[in-house]
């Protein structure tokens, strides 16, 4: 499905990573890799280090910390927030929505549109799309899009396909009306028939967690996982991404009347280094235009990766310059979504650490 928005703009990006870092070298023994395999996995997949929350830290803590940072630095005013959209799959509670928890912790005004969106790695553009739609309203001038996940909690530390990669984090993206006449082009697609390719089988209302769902079971490849853990069918996810993403981007760029050469950066979700490189290769995009260095430095933090990739690689540059950027996320659902837009001259673009 093609989407089109006019007169909207991102005006700030803040990334919050928990300070706690796990090094792959320190957890190699969990996975029964040989030394040679470990070294190759570092190079090829980007297994290196990742940021994770300490026990007891929730996504609302990361978001509140980041928002308070913006209030204190005078980069955002509480009373200016007309909508708070949170994209997450690791909410503090099933109810109420975590955006309301954050609203309450910060003492935001009651005249506000507050909502959670349940999306994984495709979620950055979902949050932005909602912001763009909300900004059509007369009374909504500024939307705060939060992306936050702490899925390291739901990964078995004896699952070598997800364990060494999964990280935690949060981002805050400010979206506002503007009168530049710029058009933003987007595309979203869904395929629920692939729901089981990436799933946490237990812990919801259909199959609540109990002693049985917490038991580690060994699979054919030697991974130990419980039904309470993330279960990823790596080959199915890889196939879906490589099959669906390149044609989606071709179609999006055509609709936007632009070409790959005109795009300054392809800021894509970061499942692992190999997958991003394969996408760049399949799309004929040079690696310099499609950064793939987030996983090796912070881990894969679901919908957080795209804005985090921008603040990590472009940072302050996004305050002075403006770039034509193509964003694309893909993940559980199955869900894949993309946007082409100009991003730049931001009020802020930085990465901060959360220490709990």
């Amino acid at each position: 499905m093609n989407l089109k928005f006019t007169d909207k703009k991102i005006t700030g990006i803040l990334t919050v990573f928990p300070e706690k870092e796990i090094k792959f070298d320190d957890e190699i023994d969990n996975y029964e890799f040989t030394r040679q395999q470990s070294m190759k996995l570092k190079l090829v997949m980007g297994f290196n280090k990742r940021r994770v929350v300490k026990e007891g830290t929730a996504i609302s803590d990361l978001c509140v910390f980041g928002l308070n940072h913006l209030f204190e630095k005078n980069l955002l005013k509480k009373e200016d927030i007309d909508a708070l959209i949170l994209v997450t799959q690791s909410p503090d509670h099933f109810m109420p929505s975590t955006s309301h928890i954050i609203h309450g912790k910060l003492g935001l005004k009651q005249d506000i549109y507050c909502s959670d969106i349940n999306q994984g790695c495709a979620g950055y553009s979902y949050g932005l799309n909602h912001a763009f739609m909300l900004l059509e309203q007369e009374e909504i001038n500024k939307v705060v899009v939060l992306n936050a996940d702490i899925l390291s909690i739901k990964v078995s530390n004896k699952d070598r396909s997800s364990g060494p990669l999964t990280g935690d984090g949060a981002t805050i993206t400010i979206v506002e009306k503007n009168q530049d006449g710029n058009t933003i082009y987007g595309s979203v697609k869904s395929d629920g028939s692939g729901a089981s390719a990436l799933i946490i089988p237990a812990g919801g209302f259909k199959q609540p967690s109990n002693e049985e769902t917490g038991k580690l079971v060994k699979d054919k490849a030697g991974n130990y996982k419980a039904l309470d853990h993330i279960d990823m069918k790596g080959d199915e996810v890889f196939n879906f991404v490589q099959r669906e993403v390149p044609p989606m981007i071709d179609n999006l760029l055509e609709k936007a009347g632009t070409t790959k050469e005109d795009i300054d950066y392809f800021m894509f979700h970061q499942p692992n280094k190999f997958m991003v490189k394969q996408l760049a290769n399949a799309m004929g995009v040079p690696n310099e235009k499609m950064p793939n260095n987030l996983v090796e430095n912070f881990g894969n933090s679901a919908s957080v990766t795209i804005p985090a990739l921008m603040s990590f690689n472009l940072g302050e540059k996004l305050k002075d310059e403006s770039y034509k950027i193509c964003l694309c996320g893909f993940g559980n659902g199955l869900s894949w979504s993309s946007l082409v837009l100009d991003i730049g001259h931001l009020d802020f673009c930085e990465t901060i650490d959360y220490n709990n």
Binding site: Q37, K220, D235
Partner: protein, 81 residues
């Protein structure tokens, strides 16, 4: 290089990458036949074969090989070009 020679070299790559001296491949061998050959190790196998034969597989190939024979087809095609 003959198909048999390619098969022999791939066999060495599998033994080395999957750290299993007992692997004996033939053209019909599939991922399901070798315990360690999961999607993560598939990535390492692809990387090792690309480096060894100095070729680059397309994503479409990586995701569609049904058995070792089809991997050899891909390598053959690239080496002959």
């Amino acid at each position: 290089m003959s198909r048999n020679e390619v098969l022999k070299e791939i066999n060495e790559i599998f033994i080395d990458t999957l750290d299993n001296q007992e692997i004996v491949l033939d053209e019909s061998t599939q991922a399901a036949d070798i315990d360690q050959w999961d999607s993560l190790m598939h990535v390492l196998l692809v990387d090792a074969m690309e480096k060894h034969f100095d070729i680059r597989f397309k994503s479409g190939e990586i995701q569609n090989w049904k058995n070792v024979g089809e991997i050899i087809d891909s390598i053959d095609q690239k080496s002959n070009n």
